[in-house]
Amino acid sequence: MADLLVSGIIYGSIIALGAIGLTLISSILNFFNFAYGDLFTLGAFVTLLFLGLFGNSGTIAGLSFGWGLVLATLLSVVIMVVVVLLMDRLFFKPLRDIGVTPLFMSLASLGLAFILRAIINIFWGPEVRYYSPAIQISRRLPLGIRVKPDELFVVICALVLVALVYMFLKRTKMGKAMRAFSDNSVLAKASGVETNKVIMWTWVIAGALITVAGTLYGIQVQLRPIMGWHFLIPLFVAVIMGAVGSFWGAMIGGMVIGISEEMITGLIQNTFNSMQIEADMSVYKPAVAFVLVVAILLLKPHGIFGKREP
């Protein structure tokens, strides 16, 4: 029970990190970006590329990786920010200039998702990869909770980044402009907010967050070219559940999805085991996200943190 909660929190903090970037894109650029999941994969694989150059160079205090991975992640963030800015320049900006509908932008991003996944598969192949071959031993904490040092690192790293983004949005002038743009873009433009700058910063933040999220997922689980596509649905569910554009909504939505995916499938599995029914429920984890979004949308169509329609 406690174990399920812990693994849910770990998974949830990675979803929350990705969902915050996605909620910013969805509200500021005003479309649902289906390429975001494959950017998650690309970020993780670019980190792997740099890790191959530096090596892990030892390990830090019980973690399965060393400073090599930290450096690789930082470089990967830089590369990925350049990639998303290029993507915007070559692909989304021309579409914005034509003035296509948000649905059309979503469709274009789906095409981009397949292009990205094809590139990842061509370069790295379909095999499962790891950052580090080491196997970690769980540490015992009070209340019968077992946790690996890596898992603790993932949660702390995600929370620190969330706090940093929150500070950026709350304290800086650009953050304020972004929030204004997300609330009401027409009013923001009329007040002299520069659209291009806001969009650029949105991509920078979202690109950086998704790269770190992908890398954390790679540390915690493994690297597979399809992982981002499967991650896309929980991300979207977190964004919709928390209401598009809501920072805390995405954060809490991500946590709720992560915890409920682990808990619900785990509890059903335990029930089946005790009734001696043979079934593997863990494969249905992604389905939980879907059932949740339907339930939420039926009860609260504008998301948990959504404002009521005027």
């Binding site: 969805s26 479309f31 649902f32 692909f91 021309p94 579409l95 034509i98 296509v100 948000p102 649905l103 059309f104 979503s106 469709l107 274009a108 789906l110 095409g111 981009l112 397949f114 292009i115 996944r117 094809a118 590139i119 598969n121 061509i122 192949g125 379909p126 596509w229 499967h230 896309l232 649905i233 979207f236 569910v237 919709i240 593997d280 494969v283 249905y284 992604p286 389905a287 996200a289 879907f290 979004v293 339907v294 949308l297 039926l298 169509p301």
Partner: protein, 310 residues
């Protein structure tokens, strides 16, 4: 060579049915269905299970006639679309697309994992082909082409008829401006549901037509690329809202996909095993270029205006 061409025409006709159905949902009603594969797969499996001979590997052994299988596929897809429509049609645009994508992934999980029902990844073999005993097996392709093309023409006429009717004009109104249409006293939800259910039934028929041609079905062919994305590409290339264009688009895209097999000869042997992904890249780039240069579709001659419907 000629049999190769016949099989190309049969597959093209099957995809054209799905593309026409998507055109009804997206081109005329504005429903962004990213779950075409869900209905295509459901239709395929329903018909396969209803018609295949007795076996111990999976549910089946009903041995019903092929016609009953196809009708069953349409009905099951219609019922699923109706049930999904209740929560999903409350959503507009992006969230609707995400919900449908999630349904596709969930159904794929069920098909892959519940082998008592579908024989899992091994698939269902020995699906009967209609009138197979009546002709020389070498010439069977011609006969099946007549069946598939006949169905395609029937569906083309039916969809052409309904979109020109008063019912179709309401759909067009919904896709242009839903609020305005409901202010004119139309129950938009009802019309969207009818369009969604009808389109999904056609997708189910396309799936059934596919399995009775190949005689075999497994989850691999229903990945999002081959069952959803390629159909979107066909509609985009053919011109949204243009039924004749969509049929031409379907055959054109399928020709490009089949033809891109020649790429195998040009790539180094080391990555020849990843040829599927090179083709995926190729198709993704075609969509990107289409969207950037001709958002109205390559084959659309003029913008559709109101008088086209009168």
């Amino acid at each position: 060579m000629i049999s190769y061409f016949v099989s190309f025409l049969i597959m093209g006709s099957i995809y054209a049915m799905a593309a026409l159905a998507l055109n009804l949902q997206w081109g005329f009603t504005g429903l962004m269905n990213f779950g075409i594969g869900a209905f295509y797969m459901l239709g395929a499996y329903t018909s396969a299970i209803l018609t295949c001979p007795a076996t111990t590997e999976h549910l089946g052994g009903f041995g019903l006639p092929v016609l009953i299988g196809v009708i069953g596929a349409a009905l099951v897809c219609g019922v699923l679309a109706f049930l999904i429509g209740f929560p999903a049609l409350r959503l507009r645009g992006g969230p609707f697309a995400i919900a449908l994508l999630a349904i596709h992934e969930t159904l794929l999980l069920v098909v892959r994992n519940e082998s008592w029902l579908t024989n899992g990844v091994w698939g269902i073999r020995g699906i009967p082909r209609p009138f197979f005993e009546m002709v020389n097996p070498r010439h069977y392709g011609y006969l099946y082409l007549i069946i598939a093309a006949g169905l395609l023409i029937l569906i083309y006429l039916a969809i052409g008829k309904v979109v020109r009717s008063p019912w179709g004009r309401v759909l067009r109104g919904i896709s242009e401006d839903e609020d305005l249409t409901s202010m004119s006293g139309k129950d938009c939800w009802k019309y969207k549901m009818q369009s969604f259910v009808f389109g999904s039934m056609v997708m189910g028929v396309a799936g059934a037509t596919y399995v009775h041609y190949t005689g075999f079905v497994s989850p691999q062919v229903f990945n999002p690329l081959m069952s959803t994305f390629i159909v979107w590409l066909m509609v985009m290339v053919g011109g949204t809202g243009n039924n004749r264009g969509v049929i031409v688009g379907a055959f054109l895209v399928w020709a490009i996909w089949v033809g891109s097999d020649f790429l195998t000869d040009f790539v180094p042997a080391a990555i020849a095993t990843r040829i599927g992904f090179i083709r995926m890249l190729f198709v993704g780039i075609i969509l990107g270029v289409t969207i950037l240069t001709k958002p109205q579709g390559i084959l659309s001659r003029k913008r559709l205006t109101v008088d086209w419907y009168l």
